[in-house]
Symmetry: C2
Subunit: 195 residues, 2 copies
């Protein structure tokens, strides 16, 4: 595992998603790996941390999540713009070489039977909280975050540090048609606290 990948305390894991980045969802079942992009992922609770993510019925990743009951939400960055677009456009069902073509490189973390995408800014290992009505009616999946990590070049001591990191670490915020925004300048409200 890359020396820069550092554990994030579970009570601060929500901060990895709080600013609304587009994410990569990875899942593995029975030796089949897949990765997709999702703009519709969101924090749901602080402790234990939970998240929501929308997984369309057409996606292979959804099938792997349903079978394995596990998935990883990872936060890609500006250096991964083309990778993010590629895994968000192609489907493993149509193209068995999807992952190789996208440039997505997977790695394992000890103790977790999941596949993680290398080069991201942060990773949230999740177990599915089965909610069949939400899944069937809204394509809405709920996960409990059971472990989290971030690259210490962009997230340190429980805080994103986009303002001081290389711009290649900026999170991606998808709109439509291949158009994204990177996260921008830090803004601090009066009476802010450090924690």
């Amino acid at each position: 595992m890359d020396e820069h990948i550092s554990p994030v305390a579970l009570e601060k894991a929500y901060r990895l998603l709080n600013h609304g980045p587009t994410v990569l969802v990875s899942a593995e079942h029975d030796g089949v790996d897949n990765v997709m992009a999702a703009a519709w992922a969101c924090a749901l609770d602080f402790a234990p941390p939970k998240i929501t993510v929308v997984l369309d019925k057409q996606t292979k990743t959804r099938e792997l999540v349903e079978k394995s009951q596990r998935f990883v939400i990872q936060i890609p960055n500006a250096a991964q713009l083309e990778l993010t677009q590629a895994v968000g456009s192609a489907s493993l069902s149509d193209d068995p070489d999807k992952l190789a073509k996208s440039g997505a490189e997977l790695f394992r973390i000890d103790g977790h039977k999941m596949s993680f995408v290398a080069g991201c800014s942060a990773w949230l290992a999740c177990k599915l909280i089965a909610e069949p009505h939400n899944q069937n009616t809204y394509d809405l999946f709920i996960g409990e975050v059971i472990d989290a990590w971030a690259d210490d070049r962009v997230f340190q001591n429980g805080h994103w540090n986009f303002e001081n990191a290389d711009p290649k670490w900026r999170s991606l915020h998808y709109i439509a048609g291949g158009h994204y925004y990177a996260i921008g300048d830090a803004l601090t409200a009066a009476g802010s606290t450090e924690d």
Copy 2:
């Protein structure tokens, strides 16, 4: 209504939320208005457009949403940093003057029995899709977007135009403790499409 507030086609309403901004949630019931900030709001579907938003049981806004079955999700901007922080910190239950102190100015739009916050970049009028299990278990509320508008100085022809608008129009992306990021630079993947 301000001359710059322009309708957004419902099939493009998801784009207002797609990049994960922190939002303001407003609701009105029986003459009582409230506004809160929410970082945990997310698109859920394209057509009809649906959204999710997490409303804690402690919030007065949640009570108004449950009673009226309606709410507005609006996208605040950098010029509203202090307003956003203020409505996200104080509770109407503790301080009846919350709205006046925050500087939030409300307005009406013909045909909608809802209160809208002036000066925002976009507004999504929602009707609650009642899902008691989600609401009680996860504080998770689902809304169908029944109408949408944006300020034409920052959103035009179905597209955000942060890159050419005054920086005061940049959306806010909350982390914690009064710390936000503004949305940043536009990034376009190879093979992007215009639509």
